[in-house]
Every structure is written in structure tokens, then in C-alpha cells.
């Protein structure tokens, strides 16, 4: 049996405390009023040498369309003026798409009517812009918590999916790792509860990550009105509860059977798990896609991509496998998991490599098709990211593809603990960034930076993750000894 060392326990608790402090700080320092925002913008302008801000803002380099149709980005009256001139002749569909994919959800109609009285409109515009930046900055700490909460929860779901696949495929190499996978999936329960609470907060308007939850916005947005049959608070929460409930149900059932199988005299519980895993995978493939539309894609409620669900899956799946490899290596280093040999590590590293390539394949497919077709309402998603999130956007590709491919393609490297751990850390950071890039552009726009809130949230959920997973490890023997494929796994040699 494993005992949770007090050092690791203290470490996880320290992470939690530090995380709470960081998050608390980010909430406290977020601007409360429009006056605060005005002060921040003034300071920024001063820092940029008194220039009106247009040149200092990355979106000044945006395409003509963007520059013309983005109201008041960065506080420059000069773009808002252009807006007033162009809007009446513009194509509404395109405007809408570009308009709020930049994170602005103000009422376009209002702009049009306001343009009759230019003076009043400018005052209005300026006010609206300030309000907009205020919303972005107030969203930031919430978004930071949301991204990290979602990342760790989905990571444990990824490990659970991997476990289900091993069971359903009757894999012979992996049973010695089953208890590690089960322990990681233990985090699914608290993780789901936290994410669910965050979603409920959204519906209750505590935060504004999901702009479509704002009735005022929907009232002025033709496209969003068309989606209310699907994107509405109650249905959204019912779906979330149903999906999380289903995943947790399988997790608890499979874990129970796995423990019962330890002392069984036949393979009944093993067979039960085989069937339950196949059933879960069906449920999972459906719910996973819908989950990704709900919790991630809908933060950009005008944008859509049919591939999105599978892309998100690849991201958290490889993160889950990486977590399995890293925790296995930790336990092995502490003298546990006597039957795990370098061939098992090799196989896990192969999966890290393979799924990293698969993630890139999906990333590229989605990106290339939108870039190539260049349809405004689609491509705006990438325009925003390339212009305003250039470093995290392309940095993530380097971390999730270039690095793992180069380092893990070598057979011998896949057997070296320190290389697998190092690659694992890069992969996990890279996929955190992936989730960051999926949420932040819609919620905080160009006001992003990785600060106390983001780091605090990562530390908090990492601490909680370690605490929950290693506590779960102490609850059962580390070898699922009576699994009928265990002998194959013990003698697995590549």
C-alpha cells in the first residue's frame, strides 16, 4: 500500500494556499469602476508616450475590415469615427461576426442611430469602451480560474478515457498501471464540482465568461437569438450535470469493480468493467463533443467549427496520458510499482508522442481549412489569436508539437525518466496554454497577461489535484492483482 508522504502532502497544501492568495490578489486588484479603468488606460497611454494608442495596439495592424468595424478598441476615437461612417453601408452579417469575435458585444444598431449625433455618440462610445475594458478586466480573474479548473478536470477525464480504452480493448501491457489511472480519475469528482459551480456562477451572472448568458446582448444580437434554443442557462446546466454525472458514475462503478476483482475467484468483475467501459466510451464520444461546444466554443458564441470537439479531446487526452506517465515515474522513483518496467514507460511515452502528433494534425486541419477558405466569420477566430495572442498561440504549437516530436522520437529517450518527465512538463504547460488560447481571447481580449490570477489558479488546482490523486492512491493496493491480463502486463517486454 502506498502512503502519502507528509512532504508531498505539505507541498500540495502549500500550493493550494499560494494559489488562493494569488487568485484573491487578482480579484482584489481588478478594477471596480469605470474611473479605475480610465486611470489604467491613462497610465497606459502615458507609458506609450502620449500617443493616442492606435499604434500601440496590435490590432492597429488588423485588416481594413477589422480596423473599420472594431469600435473603440484601445480607446481611439479615430476608429470609432470610421465605424460610424462604414456601418450604415456595411454588411450586417459580417459586421456582427467580426464585431463580437473581437470581444465586443455592444449593440450595433445603437451605433448606427447614435451616429446622427456625432458629439453624443463619441461620448457614448468612449463610455461604452471604458465599460467594455472594465468587463474584460473584471472577467480576467474569473477566466484564469475557469481555464485552470477546466484544464485539470479534463486532464483527469482524459486519463479516465485512456483507462476505459485499455479496458475495452483488453490491452495486455497496461494493467500494472490501472491503479494509477484510477487514482488520477478520482480528481474528476471534485474537479467536476468546481467546474459546475463556475458554470452556475455564470448563469447567475457572477462572471461574464459566457456572453450569451447576458439577456441584453442576446436581445440585440440576431445570431444569438437563433441559438437560444440551445444556448440558454437551464439547458446548459442540465447538460453539464448530465455529462459530469455520467462520467463520474462510470468512474465510480469501474473503480468499485476493479477493487472487487482483486479478491474475486472468477472474472465477473473484469467482464463487468469490460462492458461498462465500452458503454462509457460511447457516452463519452458524444458528450465530450457537446461539452466542448458548451464550455469552450460558446465563449465565442458566433464562431463554430465542426472539428472543435475532437480537437479539445486530443488536447486533454494527451495531458491525461502525460499525467499517468509522470505519476507512474514518481511512484517508481519512490520504490513503488515493482512490476512497472522501462517497457511500460516506453509505451506511455509512445502515446505521449503519438497523441501529440494527433493533436497537431487536428490543430492543423482546423487552422488550415479556415485560413485557406478565409471566410470572415470563421477566420476572425484565428486573426484575433495571431494578432493579439501571437506568442501563446504559436508558442503552444512549439511546445505541443515540435518539442515532443523531436525529443520523444528517439527509442532510448522514451525509456529515460528525466526525459519523459521533462517532455511531460512541456506538454502539460503547452496544453494549458491551448486552453488559455481557447478561452481568453473571447473573455479578456487584448487585455491578457499571465499574472497572479493565472499562476495562482494553476497552483491551486495543481495542489488540489496532487492532494486528491495521492490520497486516492493510498486507498487501494497499487497492483490490480486479479486482473486476468495482469500476467501479460507483468511480463511485458517490448
Amino acid at each position: 500500500m502506498y502512503t502519502f508522504s507528509s512532504r508531498l502532502k505539505t507541498f500540495s497544501l502549500v500550493l493550494i494556499v499560494l494559489g488562493i492568495l494569488g487568485i484573491g490578489y487578482s480579484f482584489l486588484t481588478a478594477p471596480k469602476t469605470i474611473e479605475d479603468v480610465e486611470k489604467i488606460l491613462k497610465e497606459e497611454e502615458a507609458a506609450h508616450g502620449g500617443h493616442h494608442g492606435a499604434a500601440a495596439h496590435p490590432d492597429a495592424e488588423a485588416t481594413v475590415h477589422d480596423a473599420e468595424l472594431t469600435p473603440g478598441e484601445g480607446g481611439h476615437q479615430h476608429t470609432t469615427q470610421e465605424l460610424h461612417e462604414t456601418v450604415p453601408q456595411g454588411d450586417h452579417a459580417v459586421e456582427h461576426a467580426i464585431h463580437d469575435d473581437r470581444g465586443h458585444m455592444e449593440n450595433l444598431e445603437k451605433h448606427v442611430t447614435a451616429s446622427h449625433d456625432a458629439e453624443a455618440a463619441h461620448a457614448d462610445e468612449h463610455h461604452e469602451h471604458l465599460e467594455h475594458v472594465l468587463h474584460q478586466l473584471q472577467n480576467k480573474p474569473w477566466s484564469a480560474v475557469y481555464v485552470a479548473a477546466l484544464f485539470f478536470m479534463l486532464l483527469s477525464l482524459g486519463a479516465l478515457a485512456f483507462y476505459a480504452i485499455q479496458n475495452a480493448a483488453q490491452a495486455g501491457w497496461s494493467p500494472v498501471l490501472f491503479r494509477v489511472m484510477e487514482a488520477i480519475s478520482a480528481y474528476l469528482i471534485p474537479g467536476s464540482v468546481i467546474v459546475f459551480v463556475l458554470l452556475v456562477f455564470g448563469v447567475l451572472h457572477f462572471h461574464h465568461i459566457f456572453i450569451w448568458m447576458d439577456e441584453e446582448v442576446v436581445a440585440n444580437d440576431h445570431l444569438l437569438q437563433g441559438k437560444t434554443g440551445y444556448l440558454n442557462g437551464p439547458f446548459f446546466l442540465i447538460r453539464a450535470a448530465l455529462f459530469m454525472g455520467g462520467w463520474i458514475l462510470y468512474r465510480q462503478y469501474a473503480r468499485k469493480n476493479s477493487l472487487l476483482q482483486d479478491d474475486a475467484t472468477d472474472n465477473t468483475y473484469y467482464k463487468k468493467n469490460f462492458k461498462a467501459s465500452a458503454g462509457f466510451l460511447v457516452f463519452f464520444i458524444v458528450t465530450e463533443s457537446i461539452m466542448s461546444w458548451d464550455w469552450i466554443m460558446s465563449v465565442d458564441p458566433h464562431w463554430y467549427s465542426t472539428l472543435f470537439g475532437w480537437y479539445v479531446f486530443a488536447s486533454f487526452f494527451v495531458s491525461g496520458i502525460t499525467a499517468i506517465a509522470m505519476i507512474t515515474l514518481y511512484l517508481k522513483a519512490k520504490g513503488y510499482l515493482e512490476y512497472v518496467n522501462t517497457s511500460h514507460i516506453h509505451d506511455l511515452a509512445k502515446f505521449m508522442f503519438g497523441i501529440s502528433v494527433f493533436w497537431t494534425y487536428l490543430w492543423f486541419s482546423q487552422f488550415m481549412l479556415m485560413w485557406y477558405a478565409n471566410i470572415p466569420e470563421e477566420v476572425t477566430y484565428y486573426v484575433t489569436r495571431i494578432e493579439e495572442y501571437n506568442l501563446p498561440f504559436f508558442g503552444m504549437v512549439a511546445m505541443n508539437f515540435v518539442f515532443p516530436v523531436l525529443i520523444l522520437i528517439n527509442t532510448d529517450f522514451k525509456r529515460l525518466s528525466w526525459i519523459v518527465v521533462m517532455a511531460g512538463i512541456i506538454i502539460l504547460c503547452g496544453h494549458y496554454l491551448d486552453f488559455y488560447n481557447m478561452i481568453m481571447p473571447a473573455t479578456v481580449g487584448d487585455r491578457w497577461f499571465i499574472g497572479a490570477g493565472e499562476i495562482g489558479a494553476i497552483l491551486l488546482f495543481l495542489g488540489l489535484f496532487i492532494f486528491v490523486v495521492f490520497t486516492a492512491l493510498t486507498k487501494a493496493p497499487l497492483l490490480a492483482k486479479r486482473n486476468p491480463l495482469m500476467e501479460e502486463s507483468k511480463h511485458f517486454h517490448y
Binding site: Q170, G172, W173, L223, G226, K227, Y230, T265, D266, N267, V282, I285, V286, S289, W293, H302, Y304, S305, T306, L307, F308, G309, W310, V357, Y361, L362, S365, Q366, M368, L369, M370, Y372, A373, I375, E377, K481, R482, P484, L485, E487, E488, H491, F492, H493, Y494
Partner: protein, 473 residues
């Protein structure tokens, strides 16, 4: 490579009391024996279909593409449908030989040879459609970016159709090398058993002078693994690029990001269905039931069920996102698919591809030879209609209602298509009488772990040479 111990709960992959020599004899029998009447009947039918196809192609080349039913609105119809269908079928071979090798699936060994043969033969069929669509096939080499003296004649690297040329030719070459590498020891086996000098000569050329020394085997294993690594990305890339032919456009119904992975899943789906069709017949005709067992068919059925479900999820995702997008054109494209004049092809696609594989959840059905055979045919019909739905229904009602029209295939369209089916079976039937259709060298490597005979021996004598305190025999 693979582990030498196998859990007793795994089902045997070689049935009956077979020893190593029996495997040799069983695999060599169809090659060394004489063809029976059924083979000749099948071959004649296939040859007749092939010849009809040759006639239709000759007519097309002589008269022009106007002999096909394609029109101004529907510029692509059966030709590209058939192309994608054939390329898709080829995918199972690569998946079995490459991906299943990497996943150390021992059951691939009885079926990989024929699946790879199927890959190569179907890619040949696929390639004919774009080549003859060119109108002047003798200038087909112009698709290659070769320096030339014809002036500023240069390929368009921005075009997914050109990427296809590279993807398919790479795919064909790697598949061919992979196939042939695996064949070397088996050709050598036929060579060593040959009685007439002529056959000995032929098989000794085909086996590239295989000597059977340890060094040969070591290189053989090494190159197999390298080729598997190379071929695995090809499984994804080929059909991904085929999907780009459509998805890079701005045509509603074509331009959707899920197309690449969903095309790959669909390709594997239809490919496994075709492997099932072919092998269910072959195991019977060539008396190979001991090697291609119910267990093999069941596993292939499970893959058909999984990939069919993935394809089904993709269909539904497309439908839902079309609604969710709020884009009128996108919504109409999918509404038109399901309820427009081509509703019947959509219905066929949905029933054959999404509903029919779901019956495989029932163990009785997925272990029934007859049911598997029927479903494999149904799936291939469904997958043809999937491409037809994607291509023709997306095109026939474009942005301009005045140009809306329907597609009417001509006898040339049909003849060309049936001709490729005939050609495919001509090749496959010839293959089944002259090639070792089972990778006997590889099958022999799993005899001790996975054959019924040795499994019984292990059980009787506890020969597992590992201590299994908890085994309940």
C-alpha cells in the same frame, strides 16, 4: 517484438491441431493446386466487367468527358465519388499492416497480406478516375512538377488536387514496398517448394534472393518497423488530403473542419468492410478457416462498428453545427441533403453507415459469418452513397437557384465504375492464385503463444514457464 506470454483468456488465432509444416502446406496449396470451377466463373465475370469498363474508357477518351453525366452545375459526380470510394477502401490495408503492427495486434498476421493487396489494387482503381478525367491521359505526367520545354507550364501548388497527386503516389509506393517486404520470406517458401524450374525461377526472382539467414530476418523486422512508422502518418494524411479537395472550398456542405478526421474514419470503415467481404469468401474458397477465424471476423466487425459510430457522430455534428452556425447557406445545404430531391441517398447513407454497424453490438451477429458478409456489403454501398451525398447534393443546388439541376449518370459513368470493380476482382483473383495469401512466416511466429494446439499444451502441462498462482484453468 511482441511478448512471449499470452493470457489464457485470449482466444486462439490459429484453430485446430496445426504444426509449422501444416501452415506452409495450407498457405501454398492455392498456389500449387489447380483452380476450381468457381474460381473460373468468378474470374470470367470479373474479366467481362473489366472489358466493358475498358470499352467505356475508350469511348470516353475517344469522344470526351461529355459522355459522362456531369454538367455545368455538377462538374464532379461519379468520377470523384468513385475515386474517393476506392481510395477509402485502400485504407484498411495500411491500417492493418502499419497501425496494428505498432499496437502489437497479433490477429493482424492472418489478414495483413490480403488487406495490403486490396490496398494496392484499389488505389490503382482510384487513380484511373482523375487520370481519365483529364481527357488526354497520355499527358497525365503534366501533373508532376517536372522541368519542361513546353513553356510556362507549371503545376499549381496551391491546389489540394496537386497535393492529392503527391499523397496518393507516396501512399501507393510505401504500400507496395511494405507489401513486398513482407512477401519476401513467403515467396522464398514457394520457391523452395517449387517443382518446375519455371515456377522456381519466378519465385526466386520475386523473393529477391531471400536466404533465411539470421541477418535477413533481423533486417526484415527492422525494416517492417520503420515502414510501419512511415505508413502510419500516411493512413491519416492520404484521406485527409482527399478531404481537402472539398473542405478547402467555400461550398456549404464541403467546407467544414471535421472533414479530415471524419474522412479518415470513413475510409477505415469502408476498408474493413471490404476486407471482410474479400476474406469471408477467400477463407472458404481457399480452405483457410483455421487461420482467418471467427475471432478475426469478430474483431474486424468491432472496428467496423467503432469507425461507423465515429462517422455517425461526425454526420450529426455537421448537422448540429450547421444549425448552430446560424449561417443560412450552411443550414440549407444540410436541410437539402436530408429533405431535398436526393433525400433517398441521404437516407441510404444514414441507414447503411450509422444504423447497420450498430447491430454489431450483439455478439451473435458479429460472430455470424453470413451477417458479417451482408453488413460488409451494406457498408460499402453506404460509403459510396456518403461520397455521392457529399459531392452531388452539395453541388446540385448552388448559390444561384437558376442553375439548380439534377445529376443523371450515363451508361459510360456506370460502365467505367463497374469496369473498375471488375478490374479490382481480376487482380485480386489472380493474386489469390499466385501469391501466398497469408503471411505464413509471421503466422508461424505466433504459433506458440496463440495457436489452439499450443494453448492446450500450456493448459495441460502448465507450461507457461511463469508462475501464475491465481490462474483458474
Amino acid at each position: 517484438m511482441s511478448s512471449h506470454y499470452e493470457a489464457p483468456i485470449r482466444k486462439p488465432l490459429i484453430i485446430g491441431d496445426k504444426n509449422y509444416h501444416d501452415v506452409t502446406v495450407d498457405v501454398a496449396r492455392p498456389v500449387e493446386g489447380r483452380a476450381n470451377k468457381q474460381w473460373w466463373i468468378a474470374f470470367s465475370i470479373a474479366l467481362a466487367a473489366f472489358l466493358w469498363g475498358v470499352g467505356c474508357v475508350a469511348y470516353t477518351v475517344g469522344t470526351g468527358i461529355g459522355t459522362w453525366g456531369s454538367n455545368k452545375t455538377i462538374g464532379w459526380a461519379w468520377d470523384i465519388t468513385n475515386f474517393v470510394w476506392w481510395v477509402g477502401i485502400g485504407h484498411a490495408g495500411t491500417l492493418i499492416s502499419a497501425v496494428l503492427l505498432l499496437f502489437r495486434q497479433k490477429w493482424r498476421m492472418a489478414i495483413n497480406r490480403s488487406a495490403e493487396a486490396m490496398t494496392i489494387f484499389s488505389v490503382i482503381q482510384a487513380a484511373m478516375f482523375p487520370v481519365f478525367h483529364m481527357g488526354r491521359p497520355w499527358l497525365a505526367y503534366w501533373v508532376m512538377p517536372i522541368p519542361n520545354q513546353f513553356g510556362s507550364l507549371w503545376v499549381n501548388f496551391n491546389s489540394p488536387l496537386l497535393w492529392d497527386v503527391f499523397a496518393i503516389s507516396t501512399y501507393l509506393s510505401v504500400s507496395l514496398v511494405f507489401w513486398w517486404t513482407g512477401l519476401l520470406p513467403d515467396f522464398a517458401m514457394l520457391r523452395d517448394r517449387a517443382i518446375t524450374p519455371f515456377t522456381k525461377r519466378i519465385y526466386s526472382t520475386l523473393s529477391f534472393g531471400w536466404s533465411g539467414r539470421a541477418k535477413d530476418w533481423q533486417r526484415f523486422e527492422e525494416v517492417s518497423l520503420v515502414l510501419a512508422g512511415l505508413a502510419t502518418p500516411l493512413v491519416l494524411s492520404v484521406h485527409t488530403i482527399v478531404s481537402f479537395d472539398f473542405a478547402t472550398s467555400v461550398i456549404p456542405g464541403w467546407h467544414t473542419t471535421i472533414l479530415p478526421p471524419y474522412f479518415v474514419a470513413g475510409a477505415i470503415f469502408s476498408g474493413f468492410a471490404m476486407v471482410n467481404t474479400l476474406l469471408i469468401i477467400m477463407r472458404k474458397v481457399s480452405n483457410l478457416e483455421a487461420y482467418i477465424t471467427i475471432q478475426h471476423i469478430e474483431l474486424m466487425n468491432i472496428i467496423i462498428m467503432i469507425t461507423g459510430s465515429i462517422v455517425g457522430i461526425a454526420y450529426i455534428t455537421e448537422l448540429f453545427i450547421a444549425w448552430y452556425s446560424g449561417v443560412e447557406y450552411e443550414q440549407y445545404a444540410f436541410l437539402n441533403r436530408a429533405t431535398g430531391p436526393y433525400w433517398w441517398s441521404y437516407l441510404l447513407m444514414m441507414t447503411c453507415n450509422v444504423v447497420s454497424p450498430q447491430v454489431m453490438w450483439v455478439k451473435k451477429i458479429r460472430t455470424s459469418i453470413m451477417a458479417s458478409f451482408i453488413i460488409s456489403i451494406v457498408v460499402n454501398i453506404g460509403m459510396w452513397f456518403e461520397r455521392f451525398v457529399i459531392i452531388v447534393t452539395s453541388l446540385h443546388r448552388d448559390y444561384l437557384p437558376s442553375s439548380w439541376t439534377m445529376f443523371q449518370p450515363t451508361f459510360v459513368d456506370a460502365g467505367f465504375y463497374i469496369g473498375t470493380i471488375g478490374f479490382f476482382f481480376v487482380l485480386f483473383l489472380l493474386y489469390s492464385r499466385s501469391f501466398p495469401v497469408i503471411a505464413q512466416a509471421e503466422v508461424k511466429s505466433i504459433m506458440k503463444t496463440s495457436s489452439e494446439k499450443y494453448k492446450k499444451l500450456h493448459e495441460q502441462h502448465g507450461h507457461d514457464n511463469h508462475s501464475h498462482s491465481e490462474h483458474n484453468h
